[in-house]
Amino acid sequence: MLDTLLLSRIQFAANISFHILFPTITIALGWVLLFFRVRYNSTGDARWMEAYGFWVKVFALSFAMGVVSGITMSFQFGTNWPGFMEIVGNIAGPLLAYEIMTAFFLEAVFLGIMLFGFSRVPRWLHTSATFLVAFGTTMSTFWIIVLNSWMHTPQGFEMIDGVAHATDWWAIIFNPSMPYRFFHMMLASFLTVSFLIAGVSAFRWLIGGRTSGVRVAMRTAIFTAALLIPVQILVGDMHGLNTKEYQPAKVAAMEGVWETERGVPLLLFALPDEEARENNFEIGIPGLASFILTHEWDGEVKGLNEFVAEDGTPLHPRVAPVFWSFRVMVGTGMLMLLASWAAVFLMLRKRSDGMGRRGVEGLPKPFLFGLVAMTFSGWLATLAGWYTTEIGRQPWLVQGVMTTKEAVADVPPTMVLSSLIAYLAVYVILLGAYISVIFYLARRASRGQSIEPRLPQSEDAQVRVVPAE
């Protein structure tokens, strides 16, 4: 029952899922902060600084969470997956090394200057530090996505005595799925941050913190989201086409197609049954999946039954998790499209007195509640997307090169179980603390603007709020 491989996989999935939450925020939030900072520099308008001041706190907190969970990630390779480095270390190694050298140090050092240096260094240096931090997080995304994409679409190497040796670094770095994955991830990060900012700003607005800083943050977030979500859908579609070419079994699982067919419907709902090798309760739009994947209504889509060994063992990933996580991601994306465009429409309406646009005032209360509910929708879509990608690659760890089983460490299962339980406990507590502290900061900021002038000093003691955790 207790199996080191299974437990190690669960542990890896738990660790990376926890880690990715925070980079997803810091990658784009760094650039958003730079935007606030540069707007302040050029306009001298204090509301940009107010927005910067609030969001830099969220950034610092997210960054700390990202760093510590990232350190866990880098040890995982050795403690749980030693086979990975032994077989593909010649390729993964340099990529990870470049990430550490070109990204991690840059971020870490300039973060100190960005957070503490405001009054210690000249303005240009503080602005540059903000830039370098944002640039560093983007570099780290680039290198890690290169590695991850290479694991999906490996090329530029040869196998000598069972060990991969690099032959062409250009081909390794610019492997076929890298550009799609990189841009899709960057966009995912910007969307996650947009909805985070919109949600928290809506929350502040609802509890009465209607400052101009909240207003500009909200506007920035809504317009960014509305602009980027169509791009994301387009890139996602292209990403799918790329996957169809290189990992057809994954696409078959995503679409829930068992037999190779033409004119495949787009399934909105289905319960894939792995035993019977068919779907139950299908609801679909005829021909649409073929159209999306081949751009022809009766295009052919390979089915899962093509990926079964002679003896009947499936060579494709488990279908239900891939099928469903893909739908969660796309569904969230559609919701984001709806929400951000509706918000733009509401904010651009003329005011009833004809004096300009309604702006944030134009957003009705229920709509604001909706935005609050969507605060972490980006996390949901991102996790679902990664689950599609990664589970869809199984049983391969590096597509066609090595399986997950070959990489796993020979550690007693009880040991892995104990570390897994410990990590999970820590993660649950920290996630709770993180989310509640963000809303606590939002409440404190709103209070600060309205009541603080009359209640100097002990604001924390005066107002008892729902505790963190």
């Binding site: 510590v68 350190i71 270390g89 340099p94 503490f116 240096g117 210690r120 460490a409 920290l430």
Partner: protein
């Protein structure tokens, strides 16, 4: 291809050197900020804030040296990396959880509602303690050849305590440098207590290593070499005496030279570390795998080396910039 000699010979050596260097930088830099965490319970609330301010801008970059060290182990010596880290599975997990707790506590203790500050202060202390203890434990077990026998575990428990006390010592010298008045005086006392951990730790490892391995014994006590190596223990001894006399005379007039104990402590770490590196060379897994056997393919190491020639000087440069920007006393540093 062979203009610079055989790359399968010198590349592993260079990478072992780089890895050794980043471990050394790590134990000095994160050593002092972990030490500050270990000393936390001895400080009152205001002093805690001052102590955090003295490491706030640095800790993240300090920890990155650990990522680099384990990264170099992983990229340059893949098979050794698996061997070492699977053998150290449990202490690594404890260390990681410790690092998580203390890393997030930096932020939470000032951002969470005030009523929770105590809790996060405790998390900071416990996280630092877990990290230091498990690193000391790993050191001990590594020295003993990575075998989990009762005797070795007992030894590793000893080194766990010594390293923790050693970290708190270097942490105290950092506080002496970065803080003033009552807290500085307190830190002088902490340092006086902590120095014993360092002496015992360095002593225990120096005595145990040759005892565990006849190869190392020969390396240290064979005739011509012994003359060569004699300066190492002598220098360490002198450094300890110097530190002790300094600490007894602190605080100095006008607070001049308040950074000397930290520098002396760093030198002491470096000599002790140098001795250890000498003992273990050329092994990366003690007595089992040499750096030459474990090294990855030269073409991959080359790619990294070329990058590091450009990047490492830049890293050193902007790290120094940051220490320079945040030079002087820490108490004006404020951020929430």
């Amino acid at each position: 291809m062979y203009t610079f000699g055989d790359p399968t010979q010198w590349l592993p050596f260079v990478f072992a050197g780089l890895m050794g260097l980043s471990i050394l930088i790590y134990v000095v830099l994160d050593g002092f900020d972990l030490g500050v965490g270990v000393l936390f319970p001895f400080a009152d609330d205001e002093e805690k804030d001052a102590m955090i301010a003295s490491i706030g801008p640095f800790w993240d970059a300090n920890e990155t040296w650990l990522v680099l060290a384990v990264g170099l182990l992983l990229v340059a010596f893949p098979s050794a990396h698996g061997e070492i880290l699977t053998a150290l599975y449990a202490p690594v997990a404890i260390m990681l959880i410790g690092l998580i707790l203390r890393g997030v506590a930096f932020e939470f203790r000032v951002k969470a509602p005030a009523a929770y500050k105590r809790l996060w202060n405790n998390a900071f202390f416990i996280g630092s303690l877990m990290t230091s203890l498990s690193q000391g434990f790993m050191l001990g077990l590594y020295v003993m050849g990575l075998d989990w026998t009762l005797g070795h575990v007992a030894f590793a428990c000893l080194t766990a305590v010594f390293l923790t006390v050693g970290y708190s010592f270097i942490g105290a010298t950092w506080v002496i440098h970065k803080n003033s008045d009552a807290l500085q005086l307190k830190a002088v006392d902490w340092a006086k207590g902590g120095i014993w951990g360092l002496i015992l730790g360095v002593g225990a490892v120096s005595l145990a290593t040759p005892y565990v391995s006849p190869r190392i014994f020969e390396k240290w006590f064979d005739f011509p070499q012994v003359l060569w190596l004699a300066p190492l223990p002598v220098v360490s001894g002198l450094l300890i005496v110097w530190l002790w006399t300094m600490l007894r005379r602190m605080p100095f007039a006008n607070d001049h030279w308040n950074w000397l104990p930290f520098v002396a402590a760093t030198l002491l770490w470096t000599t002790a570390y140098g001795g250890m590196a000498y003992s273990f060379y050329p092994y990366v897994v003690p007595e089992k795998i040499t750096i030459y056997e474990a090294a990855s393919a030269p073409e991959s190491l080359f790619i990294i080396l070329i990058g590091s020639l450009f990047v490492l000087p830049a890293i050193v440069g902007y790290t120094l910039l940051s220490y320079w920007i945040f030079r002087g006393k820490a108490h004006e540093l404020r951020y929430d």
